[in-house]
Symmetry: C2
Subunit: 343 residues, 2 copies
Amino acid sequence: MSLSQPSTQSRVKVKSFLTGLQDDICKGLENIDGEGTFQEESWERPEGGGGRSRVMREGRIFEQGGVNFSEVHGEELPPSILNQRPEAKGHKWFATGTSMVLHPRNPYIPTVHLNYRYFEAGPVWWFGGGADLTPYYPYLKDTRHFHKIHQEACDSINPKLHKVFKPWCDEYFFLKHRNESRGVGGIFFDYQDGSGKLYKGQNPNGLSSIASKELGEYKLSWEDLFSLAKACGNAFLPSYIPIIEKRHNQTFSDRERNFQLYRRGRYVEFNLVWDRGTIFGLQTNGRTESILMSLPPLARWEYGFKAPPESRESLLTDVFTKPQEWFTDESLEEKCRPHHAVD
Amino acid sequence: MSLSQPSTQSRVKVKSFLTGLQDDICKGLENIDGEGTFQEESWERPEGGGGRSRVMREGRIFEQGGVNFSEVHGEELPPSILNQRPEAKGHKWFATGTSMVLHPRNPYIPTVHLNYRYFEAGPVWWFGGGADLTPYYPYLKDTRHFHKIHQEACDSINPKLHKVFKPWCDEYFFLKHRNESRGVGGIFFDYQDGSGKLYKGQNPNGLSSIASKELGEYKLSWEDLFSLAKACGNAFLPSYIPIIEKRHNQTFSDRERNFQLYRRGRYVEFNLVWDRGTIFGLQTNGRTESILMSLPPLARWEYGFKAPPESRESLLTDVFTKPQEWFTDESLEEKCRPHHAVD
């Protein structure tokens, strides 16, 4: 594999973007919340590096929100990553990222997650990241909006990318033990070094892998991929703020609140059982409080719960926690209309 | 390794004990609850076998409680177990167990877990199990009582066993990412086939391993180990019911409730991140609802929470979530007395 070179000052450039992204997102979220503010805590990692964690609690819109920046380095990457990137063996590594999870109070506003990260280790470097939306009482137009803004961000670099990154997201944020997607997805990519193959996930027969193979050799420069991370990161606020604006005045009762808390249990299950980043962090002496900032402030489990057939709640499990072609599948509107869940 | 033979009719005998244990425990718990009753659901496993799940919700004492019996079989054990028991390779397997987790409403009553199980696969068989207590507002005497009853059960088979099974429990129910024990422990054993070595865990330098080595070769028959499982299983009600009786009338406020919900988050973390049985079940197509019956009905996370120094809550984290010599360490009383947490 011949890699293109990273830009000179690559680490400085990416770090500057990622801290700026954290700043912009926090500002945008404080602005729309109107009451809550982020509390910042800086921390150092004994083995090298550190971070800047910001948490909002009990805001008007956000019951809890965390936006974390970190920049860490070490002597050698752990085996789980070296398996994917054997060329990094024996080299010092550097990793930086900004991640975010928001748990809104109103069940009509979806939970949302974002993460963009960059690694260097000896001769190799790569970008990874994405954003995905987890509604409780979903609306088709909200879902399409979130996807559209992220598709446009991908398209601004190259119009072929979204065909790989959208199904990759569906594949990654999947709870096998529930046979459910975490939510309506978004975009996800990892190990992007521009060397020719876009899909680097675990499922050679999945839609993302197939789309990637159809593209054939596909070289991208470091600058292309940095631009991709910037475009996608900057897409977050315009992808999400309009959903808040549209939904935050919708009233809800105990029924919606209880269902939201129940579904938040699934968020906990995904993060603790399946999310590679979370498990890796917890098992390798990461900063626990920052890693688990993604967990909801309150969650509920109920043995054997099933949403009543034909209910608004079963629309979530029947339609919005399965991978879908959100833009082109015309049956989606029909399924949503009886529940007033189109717009 | 030369194994003693299992009893004739071994599966029938163990199954009869384990279903009886489920019955006895459910009866005892319904009796003390006075209002809640267990709802039973029988299920079949497509690959072979099935189970009988029983759940109590919103009782007087128990906010939620689950007691599950299962008896499953298959063509070959999964790699994670074959690593421990290579002799089982290529053989059909049989496994049966009764497991229980209780989440009481009152924060002065501890959460408690029990599991006893039995495996056969070709030439090998083994018993496993244990019980452990997770208080929120602990009392030294309650803790000692729970340990004493379980020690007596072990001693009734052989007075050396408890020295191995008590530290093994501390070692297993440990949250590495929090550097905390799940609670005050109890007893735990696994892969018990009587062939000479008691400790079969992961830490050759731990207290359990050391105690096991000091014992030297230690043969036990199938009947001995079956008697052990019976004695320990039957010890559960007398180990726990007196704690309920003593605590259930203690009043509590939002402060205690909030701390209980926060600490229940740790229970979720242990079960989903570290518990081998849970992870194994979820990743291998087990019955999700029965496996996750252990999760609390409601749990809370709070970024950066620390119990105030010298508080009743910090007594939990300073003393009762670290392995202790509950019977012999005289400093424990001094630590508990200022908090009225001795008796």
